[in-house]
């Protein structure tokens, strides 16, 4: 059960990343690209969490149910969770900025189509 | 030192007389070919004397003033750098001070002076003549250079003395026969050198009655006149030395130069005049190709 869960998470996450990348490469609307990014980002975050997964264990918080001595066999890896927290916040920050810039850019160029934004080239 | 000065003076005077005589002959011959009587043989002497006695009263500037000196000095210089008679130890002048290359380059000296004088006259047509003359000169110098190279490389020497010496084994040892194509090329270049038709384009502006000699008058002109006469003789002597075995005696020198002098005269009386660029192109290609044949022979 847990093995299947493990692999399905990995597959889902990888799929999310791939779908996100595909969206990034092929979408034209700037906000859709932003969405695709968020999708890919989510996938990566999922992968991060997945990388710390251990079967049948609980969150790394010491409370009544876990004894301090047997803790190493009771909880999952805390570091990926810490990292994913950071990564999520960064993702949010970047997404916010991206949306603001994207909205303003489409206002200025009169279109949300990224193909219109290639005055600078070569 | 004194003997050298005397020798040079003698040579220069002799060349002047001979040059004027040849000029007179040429005028006579030309007239006869044209069916005229023509001037007297001594007409050139008379002209020169007349011009020399008249004082120039105006000039156009320093270079204008100096040009006749350049002309005379250049002409005599070429003359004295060339050996005259083989084996003559009295009149050797400066013929050991330089070789063929020096002579060839020194020939420009007088031309440069002339050109500068013409330029200083402020007369546009004079300069047009100079521009044509220089253009043509550079063209025939191409083939003449080829000829010089044929001689120098073929005989392994640049010394005129040694070139003459190499031609002393009978008439077939003359460069005329040893290097017939080069000689032909040289003879063609002799025509523009002597300003003969069809290469007389330098003279053309004189015919509209303005041009270098027009601004020059009287005594200036007499200098240029004598310079030209001496220069002509010097070139003839050089050609005799280079191709016709040199001269073993004074008589032979006079004879050979006389014959050689007749060549341009005959040619020029029967040919019309080239346009400048035609002349230039002709000189680039025809005589140079001739000389090139011998040049190839020499190289191989």
């Amino acid at each position: 059960m847990s093995t299947a869960f493990y692999w399905s998470i990995a597959g889902t996450a990888a799929g999310l990343v791939l779908v996100g990348l595909w969206g990034i490469l092929t979408r034209k609307h700037i906000l859709r690209i932003a969405l695709a990014f968020t999708l890919a980002d989510t996938g990566v975050n999922l992968l991060l969490v997945w990388s710390g997964y251990l079967p049948g264990r609980t969150a790394p918080i010491v409370d009544g149910t876990i004894s301090a001595s047997g803790i190493t066999s009771a909880v999952v890896d805390p570091l990926p969770q810490a990292m994913v927290l950071t990564s999520i916040v960064i993702g949010v920050a970047v997404a916010a900025l991206f949306v603001v810039v994207g909205v303003l850019a489409s206002r200025r160029t009169g279109s949300a189509d990224v193909r219109r934004m290639k005055e600078l080239r070569w | 030192m004194i003997s050298l000065v005397m020798s040079i003076t003698f040579t220069a005077l002799a060349a002047l007389v001979w040059g004027l005589l040849l000029g007179g002959i040429s005028r006579m011959v030309t007239a006869r070919i044209h069916g005229r009587i023509g001037p007297r043989l001594t007409q050139n002497f008379i002209d020169l004397w007349k011009l020399f006695r008249k004082k120039s009263s105006i000039h156009h500037g320093t270079m204008f003033w100096l040009a006749p000196m350049f002309r005379v000095a250049g002409a005599i210089g070429v003359l004295v750098l060339v050996p005259l008679v083989v084996g003559n130890t009295v009149i050797v002048n400066m013929s050991f001070s330089g070789d063929l290359l020096l002579v060839v380059y020194f020939m420009f000296f007088g031309c440069l002076g002339m050109a500068l004088g013409a330029g200083d006259s402020g007369h546009p047509y004079a300069v047009i003549a100079v521009s044509r003359g220089l253009a043509q000169m550079s063209s025939y110098e191409l083939s003449f250079s080829a000829v010089v190279l044929v001689l120098a490389a073929g005989l392994r020497t640049l010394s005129i003395e040694e070139i003459i010496m190499a031609q002393q084994d009978g008439i077939l040892s003359w460069n005329l026969f040893r290097y017939p194509f080069a000689t032909a090329a040289a003879l063609i270049t002799l025509l523009p050198m002597q300003m003969a038709y069809p290469f007389s384009i330098v003279l053309a502006p004189q015919e509209i009655p303005i041009g270098p000699p027009t601004e020059y008058s009287s005594r200036f002109l007499s200098f240029m006149f004598s310079g030209r006469a001496i220069f002509g003789v010097a070139k003839l002597v050089l050609f005799v030395n280079l191709f016709f075995g040199g001269a073993s005696s004074w008589i032979s020198l006079l004879f050979k130069t006389f014959l050689l002098y007749m060549f341009p005269i005959f040619v020029s009386t029967v040919f019309p005049r080239f346009r400048t660029e035609q002349s230039i192109r002709f000189l680039w290609f025809v005589p140079t190709s001739l000389a090139a044949i011998d040049l190839l022979r020499v190289m191989i």
Partner: protein
């Protein structure tokens, strides 16, 4: 503690300023500066503690531990020597850039300060995830500050930066997942613990991330757009803070990548360098040029990572990156923010120093690193060396174009930035030069013959001294150039003393680029300077390549020798390279032209002499190639000179043409030929200097060098005319003056060797020389004096006196050439490897196997005859009167104005007509043909930068795919 202060003081400042900037904007700027100053102080303290300034122990470090416990549990910040020096640059740039960035909106302050913290964090980072956080800070600030500027295209740039950094985030996090999952930790060292498939994947991901972040070609699309579209103020600060930090961080990661053969990085870099710089060659916008240059530095980083290790690697990356960053910062800071196209208005010549620094011209700091890099590459692969040299050359070309195209306009304020950065760059140059001092040598051992050495030094030294006074007589529109001329001259003078290749190269380049600067200060320099600079750069790079290829010797036979020969031909302006020399000589300030044509062109002769001797390859088969090159140039340039109607241009063509004779002489590889070459070198120096100084006088007085507007100056400038006349007679080769000697030796040598066709063409060329010689004298000094010039004065003494001295020398050596020859001939005879016999000197007579020449006798004879004719004429009766210039026989007409009568233009028209059958081969066309090829190459390369942000993302992903496939060894 100090590390923490260095990293986090700006952050505290940022936290404060976010509040303060709303209340008291001015105060917040001051406070921020204080915080930055505090941070700068800390970094300086660190650098002293680490002894980083020696640039030798860059691996030393001070560690700041953070959090609880020790790594791998917690995170360390490690201030290594190199990182600390980079951090100082970051601080300096931030402090200098702060006023520019906040002048419009003080609320950008927190972002700027945070950027400093992020940069330092990245510089000191030791942990992969920690680096990720700092990278994100940097990206966000980049997006924010780009969008906050008021450039027209800010949104486009911001969107592109955002998209790319988004992708980088994803790829980097994927790498982190794999790393952590596999190794269980996140320090940089974790990279080394990877094996097998994860290693491969991580390498691919990290390489893509790094190359995208450092903007290495072909992943540089977004960076190019960024530098072009962002405000110059921010682009400048960015390049010296964030970009520098990312480069240094990448420099730390790259060697740790678990790739089996790191040299592949170097190949990626070298390929990217060439292709990217081809594309850069086509860039028109200055910002974009800087972008391409930054891509070049990114590629160089990859090359370094692939070929060097340890100490070399640290040192080279540091020196290259920090000085390029400072220079780029300066370039951007010089841009005028008020201008529509800001960089184009960058402040004039202040731009030159940073550009030369980026281009790596010695002895500027970047040069030393590039030199060392090339020396290393010479041992790795000649192909890579060639690629890198070509790339660097292309970079130099467009950088120089950027400089040469700028309009001259100075910023009203903001001189502080260039002052400080120039000081930094100069200090770097001195510091590094001092560091490399031991590798320089001034023993003069490159040329064994001390006579020839002294001869060349005399030419260079005397040439400099004699032109110098003239440099103070400037015509309108010229700016002071004497200093650059002097600098160029001094380096030249020391050139013969150089004892090894690198010393030679440095002197050579300093002299060349000082000359470029001097030329650029002429009144109509724009046209000439660019090509001059390009050819100077080209010959410099060729020389450099041959030096590094030759290793211990100065020049080895084979390819290095060919490169050197080409370099010398370029310098001499031969074989089409006259393009630069003619343009530069005619565009330069007049005295500068004299210096270049008369003096500095001899440096190439010296180079050829040294190269031919050094390789023992004097009897090289290439000799005939050299001679043919020389003779064809001599002829074609002589014809060009005869047909052109600009005083200086004619002299320029003439100069190039005369250099051809020297080449023939050297190509002969016989004693006679070399005698001709050395003889001609010296005499060409004499008469070309006289000619150009005379021209300088004429141009100084009349303000024009157009034949049609000159004429008749003999009346106004008799002395100048006299000197010019003498030197013209000399170089036309008319006896009795000195020019004849060179030709005489040359033809002797040619006939001796049997190169008759060359001799023939050379003779013809020398007669053509006669054409332009006369035309020059006539058009300028004879003919009709134009009314405009009716009142001009004789040239100033500063020009006349040198001419007089040179003329005296010329006359002396004309009549007594043996004075010169009796020193030179034995010296040449003693050189190894020359064939043939030497001319014999006996009193005043010089004898060769073919002929003889008694210059003294001929001279005396000519003087005698001339004097006789003169005296004869003078004594015979009354003097004629000098009449007015228009008193000429004019076919009964009154001559119109002097200007109309003066016949100077369209001279030798028949000649032109006679030549009409020849196909017109313009060197200009040949070079524009080459340029066209380069352009097409550049266009096809840069076509990948479509401007669509998604294309850039696709580049990164495609690159990733290719790298993965390569690393796996196939599909």
């Amino acid at each position: 503690m100090v590390v923490a202060l260095a990293v986090f003081l700006p952050l505290l400042g940022a936290f404060i300023s976010v509040w303060l900037s709303r209340r008291k904007p001015r105060l917040s700027v001051i406070v921020s500066r204080l915080f930055l100053a505090g941070g700068l102080h800390s970094t300086i303290v660190l650098s002293i503690k680490l002894n980083a300034w020696s640039f030798s122990d860059l691996g030393n470090s001070i560690i700041l531990r953070t959090g609880v416990g020790a790594p791998p549990l917690s995170i360390n910040l490690e201030a290594t020597g190199g990182a600390v020096i980079a951090a100082i640059v970051v601080y300096v740039a931030a402090i200098l850039g702060i006023s520019r960035l906040t002048s419009r909106n003080v609320k950008t302050l927190p972002l700027l300060l945070s950027l400093v913290t992020a940069s330092l964090g990245l510089l000191f980072a030791t942990d992969l995830f920690n680096s990720f956080v700092f990278l994100e800070i940097g990206s966000i600030i980049t997006i924010g500050l780009t969008a906050a500027c008021r450039c027209r295209r800010r949104w486009e740039v911001a969107v592109k930066v955002a998209l790319v950094s988004g992708l980088v985030t994803i790829l980097y996090l994927l790498a982190i997942v794999v790393i952590y999952k596999t190794t269980g930790e996140l320090r940089f060292e974790a990279l080394g613990m990877l094996h097998g498939f994860p290693a491969l994947l991580v390498s691919g991901l990290m390489l893509t991330v790094i190359m995208t972040e450092i903007k290495a070609f072909p992943l540089s699309g977004w960076g190019l757009d960024f530098y072009e579209g962002a405000s110059p103020g921010f682009a400048g600060v960015y390049s010296a803070t964030w970009s520098l930090a990312v480069l240094m961080w990448s420099a730390g990661i790259l060697p740790r990548l678990p790739i089996p053969n790191l040299q592949i990085l170097a190949w990626i870099g070298a390929g990217g360098l060439v292709l990217g710089q081809f594309a850069g060659f086509r860039a028109t916008s200055p910002g974009r040029m800087m972008g391409y240059s930054s891509a070049a530095y990114a590629s160089i980083l990859l090359i370094l990572a692939g070929t060097t290790t340890g100490h070399d690697y640290l040192q080279l990356t540091l020196v290259l990156m920090i000085f390029a960053a400072i220079a780029k910062f300066t370039v951007f800071m010089l841009a005028d923010p008020e201008n529509e196209n800001p960089l184009k208005s960058a402040a004039g010549n202040l731009l030159l120093l940073p550009i030369l620094v980026i281009a790596g011209i010695p002895p500027l700091p970047v040069f030393w690193a590039k030199f060392k890099l090339l020396s290393i590459l010479a041992g790795v692969s000649p192909l890579m060396l060639a690629a890198v040299v070509l790339g660097l050359f292309l970079e130099a070309v467009y950088l120089l174009r950027l400089w040469s195209k700028r309009p001259v306009r100075f910023l009203k304020n903001g001189r502080l930035v260039p002052a400080v950065t120039s000081l930094l760059m100069a200090a770097g140059a001195i510091w590094l030069t001092a560091g490399f001092w031991r590798s320089l040598s001034f023993s003069g051992s490159l040329l064994s013959s001390s006579t020839l050495r002294i001869l060349f030094m005399t030419v260079f030294g005397a040439g400099t001294l004699l032109t110098l006074p003239g440099a103070w007589n400037r015509i309108k529109g010229e700016r002071s150039y004497w200093f650059w001329m002097l600098l160029s001259g001094i380096s030249l003078t020391f050139l013969p003393m150089a004892g090894n290749g690198i010393t030679f190269y440095i002197l050579w380049e300093v002299s060349a680029f000082a000359a470029v600067i001097a030329v650029s200060r002429g009144s109509r320099a724009a046209a000439g300077t660019f090509w001059f600079a390009v050819f100077a750069a080209a010959s410099g790079f060729l020389l450099l390549a041959s030096i590094v290829l030759s290793r211990s010797m100065f020049i080895a036979p084979g390819i290095p020798l060919i490169l050197v020969a080409i370099a010398a031909l370029f310098k001499l302006g031969q074989m089409g390279a006259h393009l630069w020399s003619v343009r530069a000589y005619s565009a330069a300030p007049a005295t500068m032209s004299a210096f270049m044509a008369g003096t500095s062109s001899k440096a190439a002769v010296f180079l050829l002499v040294v190269a031919a001797l050094g390789t023992g390859a004097v009897a090289m088969p290439a000799g005939s190639v050299l001679a043919w090159a020389g003779v064809l140039t001599a002829l074609s340039m002589a014809v060009m000179a005869a047909l052109s109607s600009d005083y200086k241009k004619v002299l320029a063509y003439a100069s190039v043409s005369q250099m051809g004779y020297i080449l023939i002489g050297l190509g002969l590889a016989s004693v006679m030929g070399w005698t001709a070459a050395i003889y001609h070198t010296f005499h060409h120096f004499l008469f070309k200097m006289i000619l150009f100084l005379g021209a300088a006088g004429v141009i100084f007085r009349t303000g024009t060098s157009d034949y049609n507007r000159l004429g008749g100056l003999i009346r106004r400038m008799p002395l100048t005319f006299t000197f010019t006349l003498i030197s013209v007679i000399a170089f036309a080769g008319v006896p009795p003056l000195a020019g004849f000697g060179g030709k005489w030796f040359l033809y002797n040598g040619l006939i001796e060797t049997g190169w008759l066709p060359i001799a023939l063409i050379a003779m013809f060329a020398s007669v053509v020389a006669f054409l332009y010689a006369f035309r020059l004298l006539h058009a300028v000094f004879l003919g009709q004096l134009s009314t405009v010039n009716a009142r001009v004065k004789e040239a100033p003494l500063a020009l006349l006196v040198p001419q007089g001295i040179l003329t005296a020398a010329l006359m002396l050596f004309s009549f007594r050439p043996t004075l010169f020859l009796e020193h030179i001939v034995p010296a040449i005879e003693s050189l190894p490897g020359l064939k043939g016999v030497a001319p014999v000197i006996n009193g005043t007579i010089v004898t060769t196997p073919l002929g003889n020449w008694n210059a003294w006798a001929v001279g005396m004879m000519v003087m005698g005859l001339f004097g006789f004719a003169f005296v004869f004429y003078w004594l015979s009766g009354k003097r004629p009167k000098h009449v007015g210039q228009l008193d000429i026989g004019f076919a009964g007409e009154l001559p119109p104005s002097a200007e109309e009568v003066h016949y100077a233009g369209n001279f030798f028209k028949p000649y032109r007509r006679a030549l009409a059958f020849l196909p017109r081969i313009h060197a200009g066309k040949v070079f524009s043909g080459i340029t066209e090829v380069f352009k097409i190459a550049g266009d096809s390369v840069r076509a990948i930068f479509t401007g669509d942000a998604r294309t850039y993302l696709a580049h990164s992903l495609i690159f990733l795919v290719i790298v993965l496939i390569y690393l796996r060894g196939g599909i």
